[in-house]
């Protein structure tokens, strides 16, 4: 008997000019084929990420001091988008697949890299906003590390007053995102 637990389906960083800076897509468990594959195609993930901007804009009126927007919206009964905004207006979005990972009941074996104990306790249950905090903390520190790179020019990625901007090309940042997305599972406190 196996049960599904949430996993990260996509991590996105959106720049100040509402431009995509980074998109990482993670495979989800497909029970029909018993394989891991992304639940949507990259175009659909782009659309999902861009759709969160509206929610950010809508919610920023009632400001959240910490920048943590929690649940932005659930796209359907499987995918839900969580968001975080830095002081500089960079937005981080985590799209969670609520049935993205399989876990054997009893907590012995967990598919993927999740920790067994945490996985077992959360089988079938929902998700609290606070459980996504480690993801955003890790994403933010990865972003801070990126900013510390003297060759990274933030203005190039979100020109002042302008439109658009380049994407982040740093491999290290991409690896960080990959690590965060793969390592997160409900109950993980540090990434």
């Amino acid at each position: 008997m196996s049960a599904a637990i949430p996993s990260v389906a996509c991590l996105g960083v959106i720049g100040r000019n509402n431009n995509p800076l980074h998109i990482s897509i993670f495979p989800s468990y497909d029970p029909a084929a018993n394989t891991f594959s992304p639940i949507r195609n990259p175009l659909q993930f782009s659309l999902l990420l861009s759709s969160t901007i509206d929610v950010f804009d809508l919610r920023s009126k009632s400001s959240t001091a910490s920048g943590d927007f929690g649940l932005l919206h659930a796209i359907d009964d499987r995918l839900a988008a969580y968001g975080f905004e830095t002081n500089t207006g960079v937005r981080m979005v985590c799209i969670v697949d609520m049935r993205g990972r399989r876990v054997e009941a009893g907590g012995s074996g967990v598919a993927g890299q999740g920790s067994g104990a945490a996985g077992a306790s959360t089988v079938g249950a929902g998700l609290r906003d606070s459980e996504l905090k480690p993801v955003f903390r890790a994403m933010q520190s990865a972003y801070v590390r990126l900013l510390q790179n003297p060759f990274y020019d933030p203005d190039e990625h979100a020109p002042l007053g302008g439109k658009g901007g380049r994407r982040i090309t740093s491999k290290k940042f991409g690896d960080d995102m990959k690590r965060i997305g793969e390592a997160w599972t409900p109950g993980v406190t540090t990434l």
């Binding site: 000019n17 861009s50 509206d54 804009d57 809508l58 649940l71 796209i75 359907d76 969670v96 929902g126």
Partner: protein
């Protein structure tokens, strides 16, 4: 929500039937056996009240259909059916079918809706159907309300009452006999006369009579007296309905109780006839329990008891999906789908109950649970979930939720609230919830539905062709197998879903409907990006339908507001662009096709395989009526050509030229064909004319493989367009992908000011279309630097390289002041000579402006050869403009003069002389030279003054001399006969000029004297004809003798005199033409002095003896008494070492009014060449006051007294 049987999902509220409001023909006695007819023969109500009540009940009925929650504030929510005077109730017992053989025992008959009755659709093993709910909601009322009139006419009142009684009794009896528990209620309206004719007691008595005669409950009879207005009537009816509502609730409580009682019996009732067809199965006990629970739940819903309803529904649901009911129904049996339908209905009703209670998250959970359980069932027992039928149901199930949210009107969830999802209810607050369990707005639900519809279509398209044929065309065995293989629960069978021929289900249209619903919701909540995404999905579906115009209409707003593109969501933009291009190509919109092709050439988009990427082929396959001229700009479609413009220098001068570069970079995909532009036009903001570059294929192309090529372009003035001065150039403008072409040109600068390159228009022409693409150059960040041949990277990047400051051409015309004067003085005319010297290389056409600013500008005259202008005095500003001086040849000069009239007082003038000119050779470049002159006009002289008394030599007129005093008028002149005084005004003046001046005259002018006095100047200094040289900053003295006299002796008032000192002077410089310098007069006011007072005064005067040797001095002390009193003075002379004297040492002098007397002392000074101090004291005897002795010539005074100058002895001179 459609698709579920009619009435199965209605919001159940008590049903009330109202009779007697309209005159429907009475129902015929029932044909069918067992039906019940309630009727009375009394005429129905008529008049306004009846029509009002009818519309009122319609309104109430309409409200009763609402799905919103019934709150405590709402006093009643009922459905109302109005009938005439009769009502037919369905038969309580089903009849036996006529085909069966007569039975031996009398049959036990059941309700026609029961599965026990052979006539029922449920017979023998159906569970439940909507018919039963419908029966309660629409046919059997909880209350039967009869309206009657209370006739007030006393003649027929008794008869009427009796008829009423019998009618009511008849109906009651019928009801009781039928077994229905419907309550009978009578509402009696008073007729119009009731108010006047009937007293309350009579009415009371009559009503009581009716009630007693019919045995009605007091609560079931109402009387409505005639009302003033319809609103009153409405109020009364509202309160009656509120009361009836309770009665109705009671009725459904009884029914509910009955259902529970039957359940608690725990026996399986036997059908009237044992089934003989089908499986011959009958319902089992769990089936019956399900029926009873379902019934109690429905009755609870009738009573609006939500908790009870949920409990019963859930119980029924559990039984239904439990092991004993659905599990044992075979999936091929129609009962299986019926059971699924029941499960759906129960779930929908539960969802609605949850939403009514505000348990939004529980509702979502319930929604999910039902889906999961059904999916589990279908997988286990049915035909699986991997078929179109299941997806159809999934879509339906999502739609159900969306419709439900709309119909129930969940509070705080309207589009205006901008709420995306609701927070969970309190009961679930701390729980770990699935994100989806927070109720999202209907847009999300519609989207899910659309998604499942999409899945349904793709599954439908996988149906093998064998199954898609019509059933009558295929062998029966295949039809049977098809029935087993396909889940057709609430959806058409495969041959209708996706037929081999003809149209099946229009999935795309279903999806579009869903998506449009969703889009409306998202747009209302300002979730524009999701709305855009849905538009895109919609457009894709429309594309599958081939309705390209709709696709275009759907995507055009997205394309025009550049959503996604402006924010660099490239993959999304790309998708939109390709869909849109296809639609535009299909509909023949050449402009959009070309704009999109232009945009998609950019290498930041991914390459599409087998696409030509050639603008020339853009319109291939697009049907066009005429050759289109297309104009697009970079704010509509971004470009694969980036342009930047840079001036070589930051500043330039008018009349010179400036190098500039236009750099065009093609960022097209590498596979794209090179683009040859036919012309480029660069436009500027400010003082530069546009430049046009035309393609010339004869010129060499940049065949080099270098990424950057720099070409110099020589422009020529467009001869035909001389005025515009348009510049055109020729070059080869072919852009290869990734290549940067830099066009360097030399631009002549004309007008001063700022010029910035604003936009560049690229013109592209092919045989099929012409395109103008406008690129803005003014955006910051687009500017690159200066390209140099051979280098790939630009240099000297300036952020505002596209801006050039054009300085005005430096004027070489010299303007100067000829023979400038150091200083100008007041009261002197000011001549200015201006010289113009043309140092330009060419003759110049000059116009002059002269402008003078100051406090008061005097009249002035400009004299420039044949041009003369005069301007009158003005305040603050005065000017001469546009004084044409004509041509001044190169290195020749011109002089003009300006004459200003004398200024009355010191002042300051600012004079600006401005020469506007242009050279003969370059008429388009205006040049300006300006000469500012600052003129400070000052006073040439300053002076201070001292008025000293002198002794008037003439004797005073005597009071006793009659003739002297008497007026002898000779002519008009009245000879002055009053007292006279002589004064001496000493003027000390100094020149404040910067040079020596000639003073040619000094005058004293008496400007004003008090009436009754006279004053004249008796002596003034004489100057030679050539005048006196006055050096600057040196004091000079001038003495003027003045005599003041009163006209009459009687006048005792002092006299005020005003004096002015006039210096007449001229400049000493030589004037060339021999004409002498003009004499200027500077007048300085001296001030006012008071003379001829009435106080006595003592004047001392000395007279040196003619014998110089002796040195004898005569000192006269003259005491004047101008007052009208007799005065006595004591004189005392003290002896001194400095002199010896003769005269009374001490004496008394008496003075008559208006008289003067002189005492004489003779002094013999003992020293010479010094001042001696005679110790003379004059004392007013009466006032004991010492009078000051006033010195005159040769004397002075200090604080100790009088001093007399003794000239030195003549020996000293020898």
């Amino acid at each position: 929500m459609d698709g579920y049987p009619l009435g199965s999902l209605d919001h159940n509220v008590p049903l009330i039937v109202v009779s007697g409001l309209r005159s429907d023909p009475p129902e015929q006695p029932p044909k069918a056996k067992g039906q019940v007819l309630l009727r009375s023969d009394l005429p129905p109500l008529d008049g306004n009240e009846a029509t009002f009540l009818e519309s009122y009940f319609e309104e109430v009925d309409e409200r009763g259909k609402s799905w919103t929650a019934v709150t405590r504030e709402e006093h009643y929510r009922v459905r109302v059916k109005t009938v005439g005077r009769s009502l037919v109730l369905p038969s309580r017992r089903a009849t036996l079918p006529e085909t069966i053989e007569p039975l031996t025992t009398p049959p036990i008959l059941h309700s026609p809706f029961s599965p026990l009755s052979p006539s029922s659709a449920l017979y023998p093993d159906g569970l439940m159907n909507a018919q039963w709910i419908k029966k309660h909601q629409e046919e059997i009322p909880s209350i039967f309300v009869c309206f009657y009139t209370l006739i007030s006419d006393p003649k027929i009142a008794v008869q009427q009452d009796n008829r009423l009684k019998s009618a009511l009794n008849g109906m009651r009896a019928t009801l009781v006999e039928s077994g229905y528990k419907t309550r009978l209620v009578v509402i009696i309206l008073g007729d119009e006369l009731a108010r006047t004719n009937l007293t309350a007691e009579i009415i009371q008595d009559r009503l009581e009579g009716v009630r007693r005669g019919t045995g009605l409950d007091p609560k079931s009879i109402f009387y409505i007296p005639p009302q003033e207005s319809t609103s009153e009537l409405r109020r009364v009816m509202d309160s009656i309905l509120a009361l009836l509502y309770n009665t109705a609730i009671e009725y459904y409580r009884d029914l509910g109780r009955h259902a529970r009682k039957k359940r608690s019996r725990g026996i399986v009732p036997q059908p009237t006839l044992p089934p003989t067809s089908g499986t011959s199965q009958t319902l089992s006990l769990p089936d019956w329990n399900f029926r009873y629970d379902f019934k109690s739940a429905i009755f609870a819903e009738f009573r609006q008891e939500i908790d009870a309803a949920i409990r019963s529904f859930e119980q029924a649901y559990e039984i239904l999906l439990g092991q004993d009911v659905l599990d044992i129904i075979p999936s091929w049996s129609p009962r299986w789908n019926e059971a699924r339908l029941l499960a759906d209905i129960i779930s929908i009703r539960c969802l609605r109950l949850h939403l009514w209670m505000g348990q939004t998250s529980l509702a979502v959970r319930r929604w999910q649970t039902h889906r999961d359980r059904i999916s589990d069932f279908v997988d286990r027992r049915g035909r699986g979930t991997n078929n179109y039928g299941w997806q159809a149901w999934e879509a339906r199930w999502a739609m159900v939720m969306a419709n439900m949210i709309e119909l129930v009107e969940v509070p705080g969830f309207g589009p205006s609230t901008m709420t995306i999802f609701l927070q969970p209810e309190k009961a679930l607050f701390g729980e770990r919830l699935q994100p989806w369990e927070l109720l999202h707005h209907t847009g999300y639900w519609y989207r899910i539905a659309a998604r499942h519809l999409g899945a349904r279509r793709s599954l439908a398209h996988r149906i093998p062709d064998d199954d898609r044929g019509a059933p009558d065309a295929s062998p029966a065995s295949r039809v049977a197998s098809k029935a087993i293989r396909y889940d057709t629960y609430m959806c058409p069978p495969p041959h209708e879903e996706y037929p081999l021929s003809g149209n099946g289900v229009n999935h795309a249209q279903l999806m579009i409907d869903c998506l449009l619903n969703a889009r409306g919701q998202f747009q209302a909540r300002k979730q524009h990006r999701i709305a855009a995404e849905i538009s895109l999905e919609c457009a894709r579906e429309m594309a599958t339908l081939g309705s390209w115009n709709e696709v275009l209409a759907m995507l055009r707003p997205l394309w025009e507001d550049k959503s996604f593109r402006s924010e660099w969501w490239l993959d999304i933009s790309e998708d939109i662009l390709w869909v849109m291009r296809r639609a535009a190509a299909e509909t023949g919109r050449a402009d959009i096709v070309v704009a999109i092709d232009w945009e998609l050439m950019n290498e930041r988009f991914t390459r599409r395989q087998n696409w030509h990427y050639d603008l020339a082929k853009s319109l291939d396959g697009v049907s066009l009526t005429s050759k289109p001229f297309i104009t697009i700009s970079d704010d509509l479609a971004s470009s694969f050509i980036s342009a930047s413009f840079a001036f070589r220098t930051k500043e330039g001068r008018a009349g010179e030229t400036c190098l500039a570069q236009l750099s065009l970079k093609s960022e097209a995909l590498q596979v794209a064909a090179p683009v040859t532009l036919s012309s480029i036009r660069v436009e500027f903001e400010g003082h530069l004319k546009p430049i046009t570059l035309v393609h010339d294929s004869d010129l060499p192309t940049n065949s080099s493989k270098e990424p950057v090529s720099v070409t110099a372009v020589a422009e020529t003035k467009d001869e035909e367009d001389e005025k515009e001065g348009q510049l055109t150039g020729k070059c080869n403008i072919t852009l290869r992908p990734g290549h940067r072409q830099v066009l360097e040109m030399n631009i002549p600068l004309r007008e001063p000011g700022q010029a910035s390159a604003s936009r560049v228009i690229l013109t592209y022409k092919t045989e099929t279309f012409e395109l103008d693409y406008t690129l803005s150059l003014s955006d910051l960040g687009k500017v690159t630097g200066w390209f140099v041949r051979g280098a790939a990277k630009p240099r000297l990047s300036r952020p505002d390289g596209h801006i050039l400051h054009i300085q005005p051409r430096p004027p070489k015309m010299k303007l100067r002041l000829v023979e400038p004067l150091g200083q100008f003085y007041a009261n002197e005319p000011i001549p200015l000579k201006i010289g113009l010297h043309n140092e330009e290389d060419d003759s110049a056409n000059v116009k002059l402006d002269i402008r003078i600013v100051g406090k008061i500008i005097p009249r002035f005259r400009v004299d420039a050869g044949e041009h003369k202008r005069e301007v009158d005095a003005a305040e603050e500003e005065s000017q001469v403009t546009g004084l044409a001086l004509g041509n001044i040849g190169s290195s020749s000069s011109l002089e003009l003069s300006i004459h200003l009239d004398p200024a009355p007082a010191p002042t300051v003038y600012e004079i600006q002389i401005r020469a506007d000119y242009h050279l003969e050779s370059d008429a388009a470049t205006p040049i300006v030279q300006v000469l500012p002159i600052h003129l400070n006009v000052v006073n040439a002289f300053e002076a201070n003054y001292d008025l000293m008394p002198r002794l008037h030599p003439d004797p005073w007129p005597s009071l006793f001399d009659y003739e002297d005093l008497q007026d002898v008028s000779d002519g008009d002149v009245i000879q002055a006969r009053g007292l006279a005084q002589q004064w001496c005004l000493v003027c000390h003046y100094a020149s404040f000029a910067t040079e020596d001046l000639d003073v040619v005259g000094l005058d004293m002018v008496v400007t004003a004297v008090t009436p009754g006095g006279r004053c004249r100047v008796v002596s003034q200094p004489e100057l030679s004809a050539d005048g006196m040289i006055v050096a600057p900053k040196t004091m000079y003295e001038a003495r003027f003798g003045l005599v003041a006299q009163k006209v009459t002796l009687d006048d005792r008032h002092p006299v005020a005199i005003d004096l002015a000192f006039v210096v007449r002077w001229r400049r000493r410089r030589q004037v060339a033409d021999g004409e002498s310098n003009a004499i200027n007069a500077t007048t300085m006011t001296v001030g006012q002095y008071m003379v001829l007072g009435t106080e006595p005064r003592v004047l001392a005067s000395v007279l040196h003896s003619s014998q110089e040797q002796s040195g004898l001095v005569r000192l006269d002390i003259t005491i004047e008494n101008p007052s009208s009193h007799f005065l006595t003075f004591g004189l005392a002379m003290e002896p001194s070492d400095a002199f010896a004297f003769s005269g009374s040492k001490q004496t008394t002098v008496h003075l008559l009014p208006m008289s003067r007397r002189t005492k004489t002392y003779r002094l013999l000074p003992l020293t010479r060449g010094v001042y001696i101090r005679p110790g003379l004291v004059v004392r007013d005897k009466y006032f004991q006051k010492v009078l000051r002795v006033i010195p005159t010539e040769g004397m002075k005074i200090d604080k100790d007294g009088l001093l007399v100058w003794i000239p030195p002895a003549p020996e000293a001179e020898e």
